[in-house]
Amino acid sequence: MTPIIPTANNPASATKLRFARRFLRSLSKMSKTRPSCPSSICVKKRSEGLKMAAYWCMARSVGSRRAWSRAILMKLSRGRQQHPHHHNFSMKRKIRRPTWLGKTKKKQKKKRNITCSSSSYDDEDEEEIMKRQTEKLREVVPGGKLMDICSLLEETAHFVTCLADQVHVMQTIAHRYS
């Protein structure tokens, strides 16, 4: 089998290919353990496990050179330690999942209708808005709460790129199967 040689002028694709290889391995492990008569609950649990496996594979592919990937690896390896007999992340016990691993589909709470009147925004400082947006960003980026603003912005850029790569690989695989 020809080795996957990353192109020198496009280092991003090297991570993408590493992720693809790891993710395929996770998929094949999961397919070997699939139940004979899957219930809808079982399918739901397995897709949760696959989602976690995808984040794990991406974080492994980036390695420890990024704060966001280190945060994911630390968080998910704690989950694995609690359930060492699970090869995949089947999350039987309810562990409080951080927002950056994506929320599970729950019944959506009815959102309050906040009418954005122009007067309320005039009163609010641009700095206040910036602060608020930065806090929201810290919640969605792994490890974001511990970073200074410059690191947060740098890590966010890299995280967004890798997340987009992850989605592209998963789309390609899904398209290939169907």
């Binding site: 089998m1 397919s31 808005i129 910036m130 929201k136 199967y177």
Partner: protein, 89 residues
């Protein structure tokens, strides 16, 4: 003058931050087309958050789809070589 020094340091920081924020804008599909008009920093941050959430939702939906497909198809059909070709082109 420590006051002046801190003022200079904060100015440098602001330039650095602005630079990083414009780089973020380049990654956002909804904002990077409008390179001529100035987009506010807070708008870029807001759009980044919603873009990340959108990608996370896609990961979730794709995981469900792949699991459903896994029930019917045989995974070993996809080999790394063909996936590599699909991804690089």
């Amino acid at each position: 003058m420590s006051g002046q020094k801190s003022c200079r340091a904060s100015n440098l920081n602001e330039n650095e931050i602005n630079d990083l924020v414009w780089r973020l804008q380049a990654l956002l599909p909804r904002l990077n087309r409008r390179t001529d008009s100035r987009v506010s920093v807070s708008k870029i941050l807001k759009e980044t958050c919603s873009h990340i959430k959108k990608l996370q939702k896609e990961v979730e939906e794709l995981s469900e789809r792949v699991i459903e497909l896994m029930e019917s198809a045989d995974i070993t059909e996809i080999d790394e070589e063909s996936l590599r070709r699909l991804l690089l082109h």
